[in-house]
Symmetry: C2
Subunit: 151 residues, 2 copies
DNA sequence: ACGGAAGTACGACTATCATCGAACTTTGAT
DNA sequence: ATCAAAGTTCGATGATAGTCGTACTTCCGT
């Protein structure tokens, strides 16, 4: 491999694609973790509750939307948030969906209140990664095997 | 009827729900038109290329996400953008997805570049409402009959 | 050279959702 | 009273996208 996968240019960023990428809780979680870390993170080092193949899919969607930049380091694929470029393309967007850490007198209902919305998560058996999710099933960080799909 | 449908409180706004509402091009177009108009608009007065029943569905999703407020005036259902509340709940979000009208020296790639993404639109036979969409099919504003679905 | 680690690719399965038409309701004119 | 306008509700349908497992590829130690 070695050859870095295709990344869109900043000028080619498409709002529709970006939103489609960000609407998925798992992908938004990836973006959030990258934003919080402030440094590159390997695909396998994320706290997400999906199988490897599914994770690959999510990273691909994020990359094609221009949200992350990927490059290899050994067998590991590192991911970096394309903060600056995204901010230039769609000012305020990442800030809006990134959990705020309690903003002084500001409203409480920020992205921090994003409980990773149990709704679709429950219906698909996804364990809420970080946040304050109730996590009724007790699952929260599987090692290798993906999430059990009830029903 | 008369009785106004259920609207979520500002404190109940959920990022996941809001994003799911905004990811649809038709719904985002509705929000955009409301934002541009600055005043209430009746359901039937929007420039969207879907049938009435589908439109009803979209308005419901927007309302349940807290993006719009609906109330009856005669047989017409008026829609208002809940700008202030949304801005308090998720600062910058609406600004980020609302087409900017060329912002001085700022980057060009703003939400204005959202060509309503032909991608899924084409695949579903949706006519791009406003914007600068190519609109290959020539359809752009159906009176009553909805969009033809090719294949 | 071998084996494991880290991902990717591919095909299959499901659930969701945008869409429509037809039937129904409500309201305001005529 | 009647009618039309404006929406809603109710299935049905079709496409998309998230998910998984298996098989395959690459790279790095040992």
């Amino acid at each position: 491999m070695e050859r870095t996968p295709p990344h869109p240019e900043k000028e080619q960023f498409d709002l529709q694609r970006v939103l489609e990428a960000l609407v998925d809780p798992v992908r938004r979680s990836i973006v959030t973790q990258l934003d919080a870390a402030g440094e590159d993170i390997a695909c396998g080092a994320f706290d997400i509750a999906v199988s490897k193949s599914t994770a690959t899919h999510h990273f691909k969607v994020l990359r094609e939307a221009g949200l992350i930049r990927q490059h290899y380091v050994g067998t590991s694929r590192m991911n970096a948030l394309r903060r600056t470029e995204m901010d230039q393309a769609f000012p305020g967007l990442l800030d809006a969906i990134t959990p705020r850490v309690a903003e002084a007198g500001a409203n409480v209902a920020s992205a921090a209140r994003d409980t990773v919305s149990a709704r679709r998560l429950q219906s698909q058996g996804i364990a809420a990664a970080g946040e304050q999710a109730p996590d009724p099933g007790g699952v929260s960080r599987q090692l290798d095997g993906p999430v059990v799909r009830r029903s």
